[in-house]
Symmetry: C2
Subunit: 144 residues, 2 copies
């Protein structure tokens, strides 16, 4: 594997003394799992896969078709990561034309709802953000 792999786990928080769990430090713990998991979860393709797999079982090709923008390589990589993290279950049917199905694990299911709330925030405020950007760009453009 060339990417997304963690070489130095350096697990943290899990067995921490409790003093470095400050509300402002949850993210400062760089080598920590949190930071890494967050990156994976927030990943473009991961998000799509998790969303599409909600209460469904899909085959590789089906996923590829639905997502469309994804390359076969990234879909494979993404699915492997999600499988490794225990968020997605991969089932291989030993038949002549290989048939592999993917589905969310219970853990993956809980993540799905959490993600939805983040997406909900985004959808709810994209108008404000767009407006803010326009205003900002105008300000900058004016001074330039």
């Amino acid at each position: 594997m060339e990417e997304g792999t963690l070489e130095s786990p350096s697990k943290c928080a899990v067995t921490m003394d409790g003093e470095d769990t400050d509300p402002f430090q949850w993210d400062t713990r760089e080598g920590c799992q949190v930071r890494q998991i967050l990156d994976r979860v927030a990943d473009k393709w991961s998000l799509l896969v998790i969303a599409l797999l909600d209460n469904r079982r899909l085959r590789f090709t089906e996923l590829r078709r639905e997502i469309d923008g994804v390359s076969q390589r990234m879909l494979t990589v993404t699915l492997r990561q999600l499988e490794r993290d225990g968020l997605v279950k991969r089932t291989v049917h030993p038949v002549v034309p290989p048939r592999v199905e993917y589905e969310l694990t219970p853990l993956g299911g809980t993540l799905h709802s959490t993600i939805r709330s983040l997406v909900a925030w985004t959808e709810a405020h994209q108008g404000e953000i767009a407006a803010a950007r326009e205003a900002y760009d105008e300000r900058v453009g004016a001074s330039a």
Copy 2:
């Protein structure tokens, strides 16, 4: 600006017919703001900055010190993006030693709480994920 800039806005969802707003399609809309905003919000440094700025006003150097792992360049870029998106407010005091302070906007505040829930999920399940990874790696290593 060299990065993070959106060349083809191709705004979507905001003014959509309503048929492509399927629960499974919120993320398929690639050119959509949602996808882009999500990337920004989930960004490593953005997350840190937003967390640190919660109910505080910090100077550039202060932020840099607290985050520590960040390069001065990325901090600048990140702050600019957040400012442009209306999530962070930048205040410049025209004094001899330049004094610039950053703080969350109300919008940024709402985002903060949303992010916290995502982080909460991550913290709550990092143990399960770690276990899943170990199991997976063992499985793979065994077959290899």
